[in-house]
């Protein structure tokens, strides 16, 4: 045990602005050399890709959950919309993957708006169950081949690989770096917004919605905006996923996937980017590394989720570690 004072100094060194920058640079340095650290082993590159993909998805949910603090347990729906937009417009119309990135983001954003607008006034858990409902409706609509073009349970095959001039992304290595770029895009979006009028309005809503209203924040509009931005980033993840897999099916966008995204954000610490990376590592990478334990893996996984919440309810790496003071959480004082 460190003494409180030494503890504080260590924290300041680690989480002060300088320490933060050093850690960030170190992290991305390791991220860049990772493929060679693992000797270009395809299995580990695949894990690397999954790490970035899930980080991206968690970043997208974080806009809603870490922004205005709305309970959204249906983020997989927007992921699906992005993936199917890319898959359909690529296989049917032949549009290139990179052109479909903004298109997929836009489609998912529009979808996010249409879903969020009528339900945005619902409180906490009512909103949560409606997002679950919407996500299930999307998944079942895709599975039942509602529009006659989504291929039902089999999904869509033969999605193209992305091309940049003469260069085609094909190998695990290519996709590792491509996924890293997508994550950087999402990180940039969050960083920019977080320290702006928009990000602050979200924070006010998260802290006390009624007080936010009383200082003139149009809470319904800002909450909807968070859904739209979050959906567009999930749409980007869909674009990435579709082109990586070249095959997509409705079961990749299930309730379970939404649960994992949700758990990553809470486990890592809402609103915190390092937290999201740690959370993704814990929720996605660790279970894959322990494949050997097979059947007991998920049992341990679930128990670890419980244990983590008991030991560190504020998350592995909460948003601002310098604020050691924690707000007293009153009953029902959250997400009303």
């Amino acid at each position: 045990m460190m003494t409180p004072k030494a503890d504080q100094t260590a924290r300041d060194a680690l989480f002060g602005k300088l320490g933060h920058n050093v850690l960030t640079i170190l992290f991305f340095l390791v991220a860049i050399i990772y493929p060679w650290l693992v000797g270009l082993n395809p299995y580990y590159l695949e894990i690397g890709f999954n790490f970035w993909l899930w980080s991206l998805l968690a970043l997208s949910l974080n806009v809603v959950l870490g922004g205005p603090g709305l309970y959204n347990l249906g983020q997989a729906a927007f992921f699906a919309v992005g993936a199917y937009t890319t898959a359909l417009m690529n296989t049917l119309l032949g549009w290139p993957i990179f052109l479909l990135l903004p298109v997929s983001m836009l489609t998912a954003a529009i979808f996010g708006y249409i879903i969020a607008r009528p339900i945005i006034h619902l409180r906490g858990d009512y909103l949560l169950i409606v997002t679950v409902g919407f996500a299930e409706i999307v998944r079942l609509a895709l599975r039942n081949n509602m529009f006659g073009i989504t291929g039902g349970a089999n999904g869509i095959l033969g999605i193209a690989r992305p091309q940049l001039g003469p260069w085609t992304f094909t190998s695990n290595l290519d996709f590792y770096f491509l996924s890293l770029l997508y994550v950087l895009l999402a990180m940039w979006v969050w960083r920019q917004l977080e320290h702006s009028r928009v990000g602050r309005a979200w924070a006010y809503i998260r802290e006390d919605e009624l007080a936010a209203e009383s200082v003139g924040v149009n809470t319904a509009a800002y909450k909807t905006l968070a859904f739209v931005v979050g959906a567009s980033l999930a749409g980007a993840a869909g674009n990435l996923y579709a082109t990586k897999m070249t095959v997509i099916a409705p079961e990749s966008f299930s309730f379970w996937d939404s649960v994992v995204m949700f758990a990553i954000v809470i486990l890592g610490g809402r609103g915190s980017i390092p937290g999201i990376f740690l959370g993704t590592f814990a929720m996605v990478v660790l279970p894959q590394l322990f494949r050997g334990l097979e059947s007991y893996r998920m049992l341990v996984f679930g128990a670890a989720m419980v244990a983590m919440m008991i030991i560190r309810p504020q998350g592995l790496w909460p948003k601002d570690m310098r604020f050691r003071w924690r707000r007293p959480l009153t009953e029902g004082g959250e997400g009303r």
Partner: protein, 263 residues
């Protein structure tokens, strides 16, 4: 007195029901430009309900609220804030884990123009605007003697200071009318004295103030006029002197308070 100044806020026969309970019963009152009006009455008289009707948090079943000549009944709270009404709450409603500065900055939200794209791209306009907003919030805090607390999470401040931050947040809106719900509750003697001089200063700068307060000394010191509410209805309006002498008020309010204290 301000009888000749124009009316800033006007309630006309406003009624609000909660289930079977009539919280407000045809309440009519005016707040004149530049005056300090105190709203008093026993607990449960409907004072806070009245505030919430004004700020749009509750929608009255009957009656109309006018602000600066225009009806604002049923207008959403965030629009009411934009129109120029800043408020505090009976039990503090700050943004507890945000810093003092960020809390006060929230009051500048409506004054800022940066939309989503400006915020995303941090355009020169946005940066400039943000810088100015921070400066305004800072100088407001300096003025209130909270300069040294600026970067601390507001929830870690003592209660009295938090109350001041909440007023500062409302002032950052540059409101035409400031609504204070029991500003002196929970303050110690010194803080009370500071509060009185602060409110008088604000009034000196031309701000109109409507406040609920239980501390009678404070009300008598500050208010130009007093409205007495009992069981959701206005039973008296007048100057502090008139109210102190009004038998109805003594009967309904002061008398009952003694009973309260006896219990």
């Amino acid at each position: 007195m301000k009888k000749d100044s124009p009316v800033l806020l006007s309630l006309q026969a406003v009624s609000k029901r909660f289930g079977g309970l009539k919280a407000l019963d045809h309440v009519s009152l005016d707040v004149y430009e530049g005056e300090i009006l105190a709203l008093i009455g026993p607990n449960g008289a409907g004072k806070t309900t009245l505030f919430n009707v004004i700020t749009g948090h509750y929608r009255p079943e009957e009656g109309t609220v006018f602000f600066a000549g225009a009806p604002i009944t049923g207008v959403k709270p965030h629009r009411v804030a934009e129109l120029g009404i800043g408020r505090t709450f009976q039990n503090l409603r700050l943004f507890p884990s945000l810093t003092v500065l960020e809390n006060v900055l929230s009051g500048r939200h409506i004054k800022l123009k940066s939309n989503f794209w400006y915020s995303l791209l941090h355009t020169p306009f946005e940066r400039n605007e943000e810088k100015k907003a921070r400066e305004i919030a800072r100088s407001l805090l300096e003025r209130l003697g909270l300069g040294t607390f600026m970067d601390r999470p507001v929830g870690s401040l003592p209660y009295g200071r938090q109350k001041i931050v909440e007023i500062a947040r409302a002032l950052a809106l540059e409101p035409r009318l400031l609504i204070l719900d029991e500003p002196a509750a929970g303050l110690n003697e010194r803080e009370r004295v500071d509060l009185v001089s602060f409110i008088l200063k604000l009034h000196g700068e031309g701000l109109s103030i409507l406040l609920i307060e239980h501390d009678m000394d404070l009300v008598m010191q500050l208010a130009h006029r007093i409205v007495v509410l009992d069981n959701g209805a206005v039973i008296a309006i007048g100057t502090p002197d008139e109210i102190q002498r009004n038998p109805l008020v003594i009967e309904a309010y002061l008398g009952r308070e003694e009973e309260d204290e006896a219990i």
